[in-house]
């Protein structure tokens, strides 16, 4: 089993898993907040925020990666501030890969969650408020459970996207084995070599298997949640 992939390849697989999981976890709260803001609040700049969220989808990934490099790189404005104030360095680290994956996956996550939030019946939230729940508690005890299938859908879409993210990642954090060489970067490297297709195919299968497992898991969780609601 372990022979099937080289140590470097296993490292790429685990790195991709790590990066994708973190990308989903880190962006989840922001995704929820953004989705909620877009679905429910009316504020100036709402359309701008909406546009901004979709940007990584519209731009070629390489451009997004390049913009990330310019702003979050060692020489970038935000990158320097992060480094000075918090000692956080993103460029050329796996944490940067997390940022790239999270940003690329963000529009997918937000859309799924937003649709779910828009489908919540405000009458139930009103009922919750009359029972004494403040906005925060209404959200936590009524809205959140009701949008859970949407949140899961959003998270799994984001995870899948993060697993497949390539252009922005390789541009922002490069393709350093063991550090920033994710599964897609590894696949890309294979495709750069003549007759590398078989090596690439092996890794593609690994990617497919992981994604399938994640999908099955999410379907199962969604179904359980739906079953809880429909009563059995």
């Amino acid at each position: 089993m372990t022979d099937w992939l080289s140590a470097d390849e296993w490292a790429a697989v685990f790195l991709s898993l790590k990066v994708s999981l973190w990308a989903v976890l880190v962006s989840l709260p922001f995704g929820l907040l953004t989705a909620h803001a877009l679905a429910r609040w009316r504020f100036p700049g709402r359309q701008l925020l909406n546009g901004l969220v979709h940007l990584p989808l519209i731009l070629p990934p390489v451009v997004t990666g390049y913009l990330l490099l310019l702003s979050f790189g060692r020489k970038g404005m935000i990158g320097q501030l992060l480094d000075q104030w918090f000692g956080i360095v993103l460029a050329f680290r796996w944490t940067g890969a997390v940022l790239a994956a999270a940003i690329m996956a963000f529009p997918l996550m937000v859309r799924a969650m937003r649709l779910a939030i828009e489908a919540v019946d405000p009458k139930l939230e009103q009922a919750s408020a009359t029972l004494g729940a403040s906005r925060f508690w209404v959200w936590l005890t009524v809205t959140l459970p009701l949008i859970l299938p949407g949140v899961i859908a959003g998270a799994i879409l984001a995870f899948a996207k993060a697993m497949g993210e390539f252009g922005a990642t390789i541009t922002f954090v490069s393709n350093i084995p063991g550090q920033t060489r994710t599964l897609p970067s590894a696949i890309y490297s294979f495709l750069q070599v003549p007759s590398g297709e078989t090596g690439a195919a092996r890794l593609v299968w690994v990617a497919i298997i992981i994604a399938m497992l994640a999908l099955l898991l999410s379907e199962w969780v969604s179904r359980r949640v739906a079953a809880r609601i429909s009563g059995q």
Binding site: V62, Y66, L69, L70, G73, R74, K75, G76, A91, F92, I170, T171, S174, N175, I176, P177, G178, Q179, T180, R181, Y188, S189, L191, Q192, V193, P194, S195
Partner: protein
């Protein structure tokens, strides 16, 4: 000691072998990051923690030099390459690439696969060569530009495009293509792969590997992969 090398993706096959030889010999670790020369150059300019840069194009090394990201006196043209015309399959007839070479007739309506002719080095060299031979105008509508040389090679290997223009090094390892002709060296600027030590390189291992790149063992490997040694 760890050596981090940023290298143009087209160097992968050869450089992997060079590095593992070096590792076995010295006990140092060589970490090789491959990507397009342009991406690597920009990353180095933005402060990537690399010790050595191997570019597939002179202009991107120039950029790195302009940004003071490398040690100028270490810059050298490490390798050379030549440009070839390849055809799909194993039994294609060789052609003579001269000024009266009728490329459009050879294509017979099929596509000529090249890397992006305005931006990717291999494409730029190819376009220059065709222009030099007076073939560009007639050929241009048939050119399918891929985003890198390797993708252009794939198009020919799969038979999607009957012919393509790639580096000689790329053609070597692909079974499904035949080199039917080599573009005259004077039809384009010399194809060179510059190398340099970067400003971040501090420890002796970096220098050791940089030197090893011009060494005999490395030379053999590069030559076997179809590169010409410029050093």
């Amino acid at each position: 000691e760890e050596v981090v090398v940023f290298a143009a993706a087209s160097l992968k096959t050869a450089l992997d072998q060079v590095a593992s030889g070096f590792e076995a010999e010295t006990g140092h670790t060589v970490t090789l990051a491959y990507a397009g020369s342009n991406a690597l150059a920009k990353q180095i300019i933005e402060g990537a923690p690399a010790d050595i840069f191997l570019s597939a194009a002179v202009n991107w090394m120039d950029e790195v030099e302009k940004a003071d990201a490398m040690v100028p006196e270490t810059r050298l043209d490490l390798l050379g390459n030549s440009l070839v015309l390849i055809a799909h399959g194993k039994a294609a007839a060789p052609v003579e690439i001269t000024a009266d070479f009728d490329l459009p007739a050879l294509l017979a309506g099929g596509k000529l696969a090249m890397a992006l002719v305005d931006s990717v080095p291999a494409g730029q060299y190819g376009k220059a060569a065709l222009e030099h031979l007076g073939l560009w105008q007639a050929t241009e509508p048939s050119v399918a530009q891929a985003d890198n040389v390797r993708a252009a090679l794939s198009l020919v290997a799969l038979g999607e495009a009957p012919y393509g223009i790639v580096y000689a090094t790329d053609a070597v390892a692909e079974d499904n293509v035949t080199v039917v002709g080599t573009f005259p060296a004077d039809s384009h600027r010399p194809i060179t792969y510059p190398a340099a030590l970067l400003t971040g390189a501090a420890d002796p291992a970096d220098k050791a590997f940089f030197e090893a790149l011009s060494g005999e063992a490395a030379g053999k490997i590069f030559a076997a992969e179809g590169f010409t040694l410029l050093n």
